[in-house]
Every structure is written in C-alpha cells, then in structure tokens.
C-alpha cells in the first residue's frame, strides 16, 4: 500500500514538473511584461525597466528561468517556499495568502450547501422515482446545468438584492404574493410527500394555509425589519429537529435516542438566556468554538445517561441534535443583530450588497456586526454557486441510489423484515455515499482555483481574480503560483479520492493494476 502511494506520488510530481515547465514557457512567451514601459514617455521608464528586469530576472531566458523558479518551490521542503515576486514587487506568497481565505470562504459554504441540498433532493427523487416531483426535479437540474453563472448572477443582483432592499423600505408582503407563495409551497410539499389523491390534497391544504398564516404574521409584525426567533420559537424548532434527527438517525422507536434528543432541546431552552449573556459579553470566535465543544460534551453525557446498550447511535443522535440546535441559537442571535446592523450609517437599511466581500465603511469592533457583514456579502455568490453546482449532486446521488436499491443486499435486508427507514438509511444511503465522497473530494480541490467568473461578477478578490489579473498583466510568477497550487491540489485530490474509495469500499483495492 505504502509503495503504491509513493509510486503514485512520484508519477504525480513528474506530471507536475512537466506541465509547470511547459506552462512556464508558454506563459513567458504569451506577452512581454515590459511592453507598457517600452512605449512609456515617463522620464524614469528606463530605470523602471531595469528594476523590473532585475526583480523578475527577465534577463534569464525562460527555460532557464524556470529552474530558478523551481528552486524557490523546492525550497518548500525546508520550510521557506518562495514563489518569487509580482510585478508590483510584492511577495507572491503574501498575495496568495490573502486570496486563499477569500476563495475558501466563497466556495466552502456554497459547496457544502450544494452537497447537502443536492444529496437530499437526489435521494427523495430516487425514492419517488417517476413521480411528478422526480420529473420536476429532473427538469430543474437540467435547467441548472444549462445556466451560465454570469447570467444568474445579474438576475440575483437585481431581484434578490436591489428589489429586496427596496422591499425592506416598506416590508409588507402584498396579498398576491402571499397567495402565490402559499400555493407554490403547498404544491412542492404535496409532491414530495405524495400518496393517494385525498392525502395529497390534505397535505396541500395544511401546508398552504400554514404558509399563508406565517407570511401574514411576518408581514404584519414587520419581521423583516426586526427579525428574531425568541426562546419559544427556538424551543419549538429544537423539538422538531430532535424528532427529525432521531427519525433519520435511529428511528423513533428507539426511545433512548428520542429522549436524549429531546433533552438536548430542553437544555438549549434552559441555556437560552445564559447564552445570550455570553453572546453579548464575550463575543468572538473563541466563544463559538467553546460552545461547540461544550455542546459535544453535553451530548456525550446525555447519550451515556439514556442509553443502556448500543450507546453509539444514541450519542450520535444527541450530538447531531445539539449541533443543529446550537446553529438555531446562533441564527437567532444574528437575527437580533439584523436591525441594529441595518441602522448603521454604512448600511442605511439596504443590507444585501451586490458586490464586494466586506463593507469597508462599517466601523470595526463589534464582532456580531462584522461577522454579519461577511455573511451578508456571501449571500448572493453562495446562492449563485449553489444553484449551478447542486444539480450535479442531484443527478449523481439519484443515479447511485437507484443502482444501490437494485442490489441483492437490499432485497435481503427487506426480506429479513427490516423496516423501510433502516433499509434506506443503513443499507442504501451508506453505500450511496461511497462514490459521492470521492466526487466531493475532487470537487473541493477544484474549487480552490475555480470560481473565476463568480469572483469577477461579485467583485471578490480571490484566487480566480489573481489568475485573471496575472494573465492580463503577464505576471508570470503570480500566474505560476496560482497554477501550481490549483494543479497540485487537484492531482492530490484524485489520489486521495482513489485511496478513500478503496478504504470505504473493501471490494475495490487500490494498488492493483
């Protein structure tokens, strides 16, 4: 196994060496970095040219200069990686170091949302194969495949940002909208749950009426100006989460798991006000990290308390419930921050921005304001990227699950009398995740360098923007650094995916063939 990994790594480094050598030379002949200065009429143009030549070593011919560059990269093994300097005489390493977190922030959440949404919808469509919901989702996913992201981005800017900000000036939802949205939600839920005709109409009625009531309530109370959940709603949602997680994780008939999940919800209610106090007086990432650890600790203790035998599923259920309930509490805090945040001069009641990654006018200092600002700036790009990429996950998880459901071991599981939940969640879902995991790994690696267009449309300065800028200004070192990081990550991710596949699925052996 180890020999196999080393052999693969060896081949990978040869490939990287070859492609970086060719790319370096191609990029070097793609343009002249001194071109602007040659025709310049500035008196010190000559000195500038000399300085630039010295700092970028332009007097060395490209094939040889490549080895100077490679020397800097190989120095990475001793801990002093050197990507050279940009045209503006900055260190490439520091430019890249500021761009990577931006890009990760941009693509990480979008990918996570796409994966969760895509797999959920994919599984539902597979379980309801040939239903109206399945056909509708097939159409939607093909539509998403066909959308150019720059086109979606402009639409989102207009309808989600500008129109929504206008709406906030007078946050009353028109009756037409309430009726339309309620009917739409009713149809969607009726299609998902499905059943015989009577049941479909029942679901439609309940959902539509409930939705209409909710929207009217939100509209009447000006909720969009002053949002918030409050302890009661947080508790209600937590109980709902407790039931949902238990149903998916162990099944409701497992009383120990259900009790522990419910206990987690009650604990969240008890700790609601202490948490608010902590949020207000000790705000910061450290607090959130500490709360996460405490939540896991509590979940562990609760799980141990309730489960006599078979403890792992109970602890798992309590843990997932605790995590989700924690997110709801945090969401509530952000909602409370919404109104004061909007009232600041920098925002002035137009909270959804169309471009940029932070609002530079916002006064620093308040943790909740700055974090909310970052989140608000992420909304549009995240939605755009999610829309584009989740269709693939729908198709893939649907196809895989359908394949798995045809396997003999699923028939065996059904034949020995397991209920449908156990068959789906324990036997089918886990096997569906094996190929999906490997796809996710490759996707994440590809995204580090991938979001050129999204970054451009939304005015973010990440790896994509650097790549674009480097090509346009013939900035060789910058270009090569972006390329090197992206390419190494993508080839490494392929290796990791192969290893992961063989680790997850014992039928497949890496290292053979």
């Amino acid at each position: 196994m180890l020999a196999y990994i080393f052999r693969r790594l060896g081949v990978l480094s040869v490939i990287l060496f070859g492609s970086s050598f060719i790319l370096y030379n191609l990029a070097a002949i793609s343009g002249d970095p001194l071109e602007g200065l040659r025709t310049s009429t500035e008196p010190n143009a000559k000195q500038q040219m000399l300085a630039l030549t010295r700092s970028l070593q332009l007097d060395v011919p490209p094939p040889l200069r490549y080895f100077l560059w490679l020397k800097g990269i190989l120095a990475g093994f001793t801990g002093h990686i050197d990507f050279g300097k940009t045209r503006d005489a900055q260190l490439v390493t520091s430019v890249i170091a500021t761009a990577i977190p931006t890009t990760i922030r941009l693509v990480f959440f979008a990918t996570i949302t796409a994966i969760v949404l895509g797999i959920t919808i994919g599984i539902v469509t597979a379980l309801r194969q040939y239903s109206r919901f399945d056909y509708a989702m097939t159409f939607v996913s093909f539509l998403m495949f066909s959308l150019p992201i720059f086109w979606v981005a402009v639409l989102l800017k207009e309808f989600l940002a500008i129109q929504f900000n206008n709406f906030l000036a007078n946050p009353q939802i028109p009756i037409k909208w309430i009726i339309g949205l309620s009917i739409a939600t009713g149809i969607i839920w009726a299609a998902i749950i499905s059943g015989d005709r009577k049941r479909v109409w029942q679901i439609f009625g309940v959902v539509a009426v409930g939705n209409a009531a909710l929207l009217t309530l939100l509209s009447v109370t000006s909720w969009f100006i002053k949002p918030g959940l409050g302890p009661i709603v947080v508790f209600g949602m937590s109980i709902g989460i407790a039931y949902g997680v238990t149903q998916l994780s162990t099944g409701l008939q497992n009383k120990a798991a259900l009790r522990s999940a419910q206990t987690m919800a009650v604990i969240a209610l008890v700790l609601y006000y202490p948490n608010q106090w902590l949020f207000n007086h000790h705000a910061g990432w450290f607090l959130i990290l500490a709360q996460l650890i405490v939540t896991i600790g509590i979940a562990f203790a609760v799980g141990l308390k309730f489960a006599k035998i078979d403890r792992a599923p109970t602890i798992r259920t309590a843990g997932i419930t605790g995590f989700l309930v924690g997110i709801i509490t945090l969401l509530d805090k952000f909602m409370q921050t919404w109104n004061p945040y909007m009232s600041t001069d920098a925002i002035n009641f137009r909270p959804i921005p169309t471009t940029g990654q932070v609002n530079s006018l916002l006064e620093p200092g308040n943790f909740w304001f700055t974090t909310l600002d970052i989140l608000v700036h992420m909304i549009l790009p995240t939605i755009a990227l999610t829309l584009i990429s989740f269709a693939g996950y729908i198709r893939y998880s649907r196809g895989t699950l359908l394949e798995v459901l045809n396997q003999d071991y699923i028939r065996t599981a059904r034949a020995k009398g397991l209920n449908e939940r156990t068959v789906i969640m324990r036997h089918a879902f886990r096997n569906t995740m094996i190929p999906l995991t490997t796809i996710m790994v490759v996707d994440f690696a590809g995204l580090i360098g991938g979001a050129i267009i999204t970054e451009r449309v939304f005015g973010w300065i990440g790896m994509g923007t650097l790549f674009n800028k480097a090509i346009n200004s013939f900035d060789l070192n910058l270009l090569m650094a972006v390329f090197f990081i992206t390419a190494s990550l993508s080839v490494l991710a392929n290796l990791v995916a192969d290893l992961l596949y063989s680790a997850l699925d014992p039928r497949i052996r890496a290292g053979k063939g």
Binding site: V11, V14, I15, L16, G18, S19, I22, L23, L26, A27, I29, S30, G31, Y130, T138, F139, F142, L143, F145, S146, L147, P148, I149, F150, W151, V154, E158, I162, N406, I452, I453, R456, N468, I471, L479, F483, A487, S490, V491
Partner: protein, 358 residues
C-alpha cells in the same frame, strides 16, 4: 415487428408480470431498433431534438452567409453591420431602441401580435439586436459542434488505444491525459492571441476541442478494459481477426453508447465554456459577436434596458437545455438495464393476454 413470432409471444407472456411486457416489446428487434424506440419514447429528448433542429435552421438561415465565394442571402432584413437609426417611438420615457416584439393582441391594449422592425431591440449604436443574437447563436452552435467533434474523436482514439493495448501504452497515454488536465486552456488561448492576433472563432473552437477530450478518454478506456475481456473478443481473436478489426468491428460498436452520451454532455458543457470564456474576454472578441460577449457588454444595462440581457441568455439556456435533454434520452436509450415505467393499462392488457393464453 413483422418478424415477431406469435408462438414466442404467447410463451413469454405466460411468464407474466413486467418481464413479459418488456420481452414482448423487444422481440425480433435489432439492438439499434431497440435503442431508437427507447429514444423516441423519451418525450423530453424528442421535444429537445425538434427544438434544436428547428433552432439551428432558424438561426443559420436568418443572416447572410458566405459559403466560399457564394453569398447566401438570409431571410432577416438586417445584418450585424447595418446601422439603422435608433428608434424611440413606442418606448418608455427616456429609452431608445426598445424591442418591438409583441405578443399582446390589439384588443388588450397591446401593439398586436408581430415581430416589428426590431423584435429584440437595438444596441447602443443602433445595430439590430435580433441580428446580433442570431450571429452570436451561430457562433455558439458552431463552437459547440466543433468541440464535440474534436473532443469526441480524440477522446475515443486515446481511450480505445490505451484500454485495448493496456501495459506501457496505457500508462503513457493516461499520464499524458493527466498532464493535459492540469494545463488551463486559457493560457494557450492567450499565448496564441498574443502572437498571432485574433484568429477567429473557428480556431477558438479548435483549440478548446484539443483540451476537451480528457474526461471522455477515461470513460472509453474503462469501457474498453471491460469489453476486451469478454468472450466475443476471444472468439474473434481465435477466428484470426486482427487487432484493428477487433477494435473497430467488435469492441467499438459495443462502446458507442457511452461515447455518444458523453459527447452530448461534452457539447452542452462546450457551449457554456465558450460563453464563459467570451464573457471573461478570452474567447470570441469584438468586433465578432458571441452570446457570452453580448451579455458581458450589456450586463450593466439590465435595470434600464433589460432586453439586451435577456435574449442572449435565453438562447444559451435553450441550446444547452435541449442538448442536455437529448443526452439524457440517449443515456436512457443505450442503458440495457433501463426500464421505463409500466402504465396500469399495459399491466391490465398483459393480464388479459395471459388469461387468453392459459
């Protein structure tokens, strides 16, 4: 259908259930006929096929074309170079060049059903936007087919050779594929652009095709690796067939489903790639026209003159969506395990046949 053996039908229907229905349908048909029937039955794919054929005819016949020395006139009365005056009558206050396309009949207060002088409006300097969109769509469709053709051919050749011969040939070819995957196509485009200037849309499509074959070649290789171990290949070899004959006559026809499906998906990806590159300024460049370029030029005017933004986007989506649906229909048609849903009616009639048979 004519070859259908009546006796066989009776025996198979007596098995009852779904199998009987499927067996009855495919009896006496060749593989190609079965695939064709399955495809024709896929409603989305058939609709898309008609849409895309109609669209291609519509788009390519609209403007004047030069085929060699012959100039073929188009049916549309403007060309991309024409500069008619900017029209302001009928537009909202302060707007010029708005679309004249109207679907609202006169008795509802509209301008009546019709295209008008400039159905998609006019751009900044008065060029007819319908003509521009048609030209852009021509470019995009052409790029799509060229990429599909080059990528498909290269991918099939590389995949077939490395899957069939295995060993060191396979290792070398697959490492070469990995190598191509890591090189961003944009760089090659900018190198060529710098040294030779803008070589036009044909060249763009050509070099993008040179980078588009990697995914396909891996799929074809996998298919060849499994097919070459099958008994019919051994039989052919024992009978004295040459490698070339085995590859082309025995294995390739069996792998053609995978190839066709992935070429279709490659093409739908290609149209998005072309528009994205043009949007970034690395693809088709002005004064030539492309759908991505049009969107990029007029994205800021969305709030004031939305038609400059809507129409190119709608054309991109229509083309890509149709191709995707055709790909889906083909995949279903070629997949032997694919089973369509059996309607209640068919189930009932199968039961009746069974009773009659018994």
């Amino acid at each position: 259908m004519a070859r259908k053996n009546k006796k066989a039908v009776e025996t198979t229907t007596q098995d009852g259930g779904e199998n009987a229905i499927f067996n009855k349908e495919t009896e006496g048909l060749s593989q190609g006929q079965i695939v064709l029937r399955r495809f024709v039955r896929h409603r989305g794919a058939m609709t898309s096929l008609f849409v895309i054929i109609g669209l291609i005819l519509f788009v390519f016949s609209a403007l004047d074309q030069k085929i060699g020395p012959v100039k073929v006139p188009g049916w549309w009365h403007y060309n991309t170079e024409d500069l008619p005056e900017l029209r302001s009558e009928g537009c909202k206050e302060g707007l010029v060049g708005c679309p004249t396309f109207s679907l609202r009949p006169k008795f509802l207060g509209g301008a009546g059903f019709g295209l008008g002088e400039h159905p998609f409006g006019q751009d900044d300097i008065g060029r007819d936007y319908f003509a521009l969109v048609m030209r852009g769509a021509q470019r995009s469709i052409m790029v799509m087919f060229v990429i599909g053709f080059i990528g498909g051919t290269l991918g099939t050749i590389v995949g077939a050779i490395s899957g069939f011969y295995r060993g060191w040939i396979d290792a070398v070819l697959m490492r070469f594929t990995d190598f191509i995957i890591t090189i961003p196509a944009i760089i090659i485009g900018s190198v060529v652009g710098y040294h030779f200037g803008n070589l036009g849309v044909g060249f763009l499509a050509f070099y993008l095709g040179l980078f588009a074959w990697t995914g396909l070649s891996r799929l074809v290789r996998g298919e060849f690796l499994t097919l070459r171990e099958r008994e019919f290949v051994d039989a052919a070899r024992v009978a004295g067939a040459s490698n070339r004959r085995i590859i082309f006559k025995h294995i390739l026809p069996n792998a053609v489903g995978v190839i066709i499906v992935s070429v279709t998906l490659l093409m739908s990806g290609a149209i998005l790639l072309e528009t994205a590159l043009s949007y970034l300024g690395f693809g088709v460049v002005a004064p030539d026209v492309s759908l991505g370029l049009l969107i990029s030029q007029y994205q800021d005017s969305f709030t004031t003159r939305p038609w400059l933004f809507w129409y190119p986007g709608l054309f991109i989506i229509t083309i890509a969506l149709s191709i995707n649906f055709i790909g889906d229909g083909l995949r279903d048609a070629f997949d032997p395990r694919q089973r369509r849903r059996i309607t209640k009616k068919e189930r009932e009639s199968a039961k009746v046949v069974k009773k009659v048979g018994a």
